[in-house]
Every structure is written in C-alpha cells, then in structure tokens.
C-alpha cells in the first residue's frame, strides 16, 4: 500500500468517525423510540414515526431537546477526532494505529453507555426516568476521556515501535 493510499484511508476513517459520531448522537433517541414503538404497534412504522414527530416539540416530551442533549458529548468527541486523527502524520503508522485505538475506545464507551442508558429508560419507564437524559451527557463527558485512555493504552501494547536496525 502506498503512502497516498494510507493518507486517503485515514482521511476517510476520520470523516466517517466525525460524521458518524454526530449523526449517532443526534438520532439515537429517535431510533430507539421509533423502534420500540414500531414493535409495540406490531410493525406499524409509519404510525410510530408520526407519533415521534408529534412529540418532537410537545410540552412534557420535547424529543428534539433530548436529541440535542444526547448529541452534545458526541459533537465534542467528533471535533476532537477531527483534529486528533486529521492532523496525524501518516508516515508514522504506529502513531496512527495507537491514535485510532484511543479513538475507538472513546467511541465504544460513548456509544455503549448512551445506547444502554436510552434502552433501559425506554424499556423500563419510571417517573424520574427522564432525568437520565439530563445527566447522561455529563457522565459521558467524564467517561469518554477514560475510554480514550484505555484504548490508547491497548494501542500502545499492541502496536510497538519497530526496533532500530543495527
């Protein structure tokens, strides 16, 4: 593989991570709500979608605000990824791999935790359940750097600098 190919591949990966994070953060709540409602209505997707749209700005529901709140840590993560991976020199493949491992750790924590929290809230409704949507972004902001650190540590263990030739 040529250096130009590596560069294009990294650019593609960076852009994919960047927009993937933003779109995931914005749409997670919508996807889970519509999927759960479609299941509850025995496959009536159109009705579930209409019901969701109806409550986007409705008082007491405000699904739009929930989507925006959930997207906040993902947007910050996306911007970090854009600069962190976007400015990596491709001629140092070990550094690239380690950074990718760190980013993968951060993304895994953000995606895993928010998906779990949203699923639990929807599947086990509770009077105070909606508080999750307020506190989740705060928890994520603390845990995303932790995920990055774990991923980076794993990357350091997996991708060693080649030993200098004698």
């Amino acid at each position: 593989m040529t250096t130009m190919d590596d560069s294009k591949k990294l650019t593609w990966l960076t852009v994919a991570f960047y927009w993937g994070c933003i779109v995931f953060g914005l749409s997670l709540h919508a996807v889970i709500m519509v999927a759960q409602d479609t299941y509850r209505r025995h496959g009536a997707f159109a009705e579930a979608w209409q019901d969701f749209r109806l409550h986007l700005f409705a008082p007491g529901y405000n699904f739009f605000l929930i989507g925006v709140l959930n997207a906040l840590p993902f947007v910050l993560l996306a911007v970090f990824i854009l600069f962190h991976l976007g400015t990596t020199a491709t001629k140092e493949p070990v550094i690239v791999s380690r950074r990718l491992a760190g980013v993968a750790g951060a993304v895994a924590v953000a995606v895993g935790l928010s998906t779990w929290a949203h699923l639990i809230t929807v599947l086990h409704p509770d009077a105070q359940g909606a508080l999750v949507y307020f506190f989740l972004p705060i928890y994520l902001l603390g845990l995303i750097p932790l995920g990055y650190a774990v991923g980076r540590l794993a990357g350091n263990l997996l991708f060693k600098q080649p030993a200098p030739t004698a």
């Binding site: 209409q50 700005f57 409705a58 008082p59 947007v75 854009l82 400015t87």
Partner: protein
C-alpha cells in the same frame, strides 16, 4: 488531512447546528400556530390532542386558533381531545372557555349518562374559569350514577373556587356510599385542596374507613405537614413571585384560603395587569375571596374594570362588591 478539509467539515457541523436551530425556531412559539391550528383538523385524535397541548403552551398569542379549538372542545368524538382543547382555551380566551362551560352545563343537565360523565370532565379541565358551573356540579354529586358523582367531585376539585361552596360539597362527598367517590374526594384533600379545620373530623372518621386504601390516605392527609403549615399564603406567594407561570397553580389556592390570604394582596395586585387573561381573572378571584381585607386593591381593581376580557371584568366587578367598594358592575366597561 489538509487544514482546508478540517475546516470544511467543521463548517458542515456549523451548518447542521444552524439548520437544527432554524427547525426549532420554526416549530416553537407563535411561529408554530398555523401548523398546530391545521393539526387540529387531523383525523388522528392523538395529533389533535398534541396540537391543543402545544397551543395551550403558547397561551394568549395562539388566539387565532380559538375557533377551531372551540369546535374541538364542543364536538370532538374523542373525550380526551375535547378536554385538552377546553384546557387550551382557558389559557387564551376566557369567553370561549365559558362557551364550553355553558354547553357542558347543558349536557350535564341532560339525559345521556355517558355524555354527562364527559361533561363533568370537560368542566374540570376548564379549572377555576368554570366557577359558575359549581352549583350544577354540586347537584351532580347527588346523581344516581356513581361515575357521574366521581367525575363531579373531580371537577369541583379542579375548579376549586369558591371554597365556601366547593369544600363543604367535597366534605359531603367524603361520606358517599361508593368507594370511588369517597376516594376521589379524599385524594383532592390530600393533594390539591388544603383541608380546613372543619374537614378534620371527617378525615378522622375516614381514617377508620372499612376500605384500607381510604383509611391510609386519610391518615396520611391528617399527618401531612402541608396541612399544618401556618403560612400557606406566603408559600403560594413565593411560588408565583419566583415564576409567574406558577400563578395558575398558586392563585386558586390563595383564593381557597379566603380572608386568611390577606397578606398576599400587595403581591396579587400587579397580576391584574398580567398579559395572560387567566392570571388576571385569578388575581381578581383571589382579591374577591379575601374580601374587605383587600381594600388596598380597590384602585387597581377599579382600573381593571376596563380590562379587554369580559370574563375578567365580570370577576373584577364581583371582587369590588365582595370588598365592599362602590358597585363595580356599574363602572364596568360594556362588553367588547
């Protein structure tokens, strides 16, 4: 990645944020009124309900939707759509809300039992605006149908004023032979209407009710610290002074306190000039319920006789009479 690529992607993010902001701006506040008014015609009752709730949130600015809301409140085949429309009307046009009240009273006096039950619920959703319906609801508390009695008790609790009529009627409902009626009346004293000293012996009696849920609720109502709070007027004043939207909750409770709420007079007077007709109406109701103790409010009430809303003017005139000032109705501006 070149710096140009990075900035291009950041620009894309900013454009997305801008689009979302525009979507929010267009879908909320007064800009949403035309779409919500159209949604009131939707064949799905859930859409009609949500549209009515959003219009209620917008308040007096949603007045262009009154005609369609009135139609929904009077004729919608789905009861919940009717009650949400009625509840929305009271936030924007008190005269329209009173039209719903008049029609519901007519239905309540009719023969159709399910329609009469629904009428009680609609009257309750109008809240204190449906005060003139209180005598008819008290009559409904003696109906042969226990569901009507239960809904009538609920409606009286939501209307809440005048306390001199509502509290004795609900106290009587505490001894209804039907458990659901007793439970509904007791729930109101437990959570909505602060029980007066006269209610205490009845609550004590209910704490030994054969129905365990009623006995427990009566005991917890008797032991509630809220019931023993001396400065209730101060608590309610603090509510709407901190957040004006709390006035819809706090003012009817002040009105229920009657003369005991006289310390609230200076805080209530400015609400007579509030932009929400419902708040102005409730302020006049509080001052009227306080009676002669609200004499400091007479100049403000006299000025409020020129209020643009006929229902507010009527309530102001009543308040002036209750305070003992010159006959307010004589000075009231003619209906517009």
């Amino acid at each position: 990645m070149s710096p140009k690529h990075i900035w291009l992607n950041l620009g894309g993010l900013l454009a997305l944020i801008g689009l979302l902001g525009l979507l929010y701006w267009q879908s909320t506040g007064v800009r949403a009124i035309p779409a919500m008014t159209d949604a009131l015609k939707n064949s799905d009752s859930k859409v009609r309900v949500a549209a009515a709730q959003m219009l209620a949130e917008i308040g007096p600015a949603a007045k262009p939707a009154v005609t369609r809301l009135l139609d929904q409140a009077l004729h919608d085949p789905v009861q919940y759509a009717r009650t949400t429309a009625a509840a929305a009307l009271k936030t924007m046009d008190l005269a329209a809300a009173r039209q719903v009240m008049t029609a519901s009273i007519r239905t309540l006096k009719g023969e159709d039992t399910p329609a009469r039950r629904a009428a009680c619920t609609v009257l309750g959703s109008l809240g204190p605006v449906a005060k003139p319906a209180v005598p008819d609801l008290i009559v409904a508390l003696s109906d042969v149908d226990e569901t009507i009695r239960m809904h009538a008790a609920g409606a009286l609790g939501e209307i809440g004023i005048p306390a001199t009529l509502v509290i004795p009627a609900l106290t009587k409902a505490l001894h209804d032979p039907a458990q659901p009626v007793r439970h509904r009346a007791l729930t109101l004293f437990a959570f909505s209407i602060p029980p007066t000293e006269a209610v205490t012996p009845h609550l004590k009696q209910l704490s030994e009710d054969k129905d365990l849920s009623i006995a427990i609720l009566a005991t917890s109502t008797l032991n509630s610290p809220h019931r023993q709070t001396q400065d209730r007027a101060g608590t309610y004043m603090a509510m709407f002074s901190y957040q004006r939207s709390a006035a819809t909750y706090a003012l009817p409770r002040l009105a229920q306190l009657g003369p005991d709420a006289s310390t609230a007079v200076p805080a209530v007077i400015p609400i007579l000039k509030d932009e929400h007709p419902l708040h102005r109406y409730l302020a006049a109701e509080v001052l009227g319920a306080i009676g002669p103790g609200a004499k400091d409010a007479v100049p403000a009430l006299t000025a409020a006789l020129q209020d643009e809303d006929a229902v507010v003017r009527e309530s102001v005139a009543e308040a002036l009479r209750a305070i003992g000032a010159a006959d307010g109705s004589r000075k009231a501006a003619p209906p517009k």
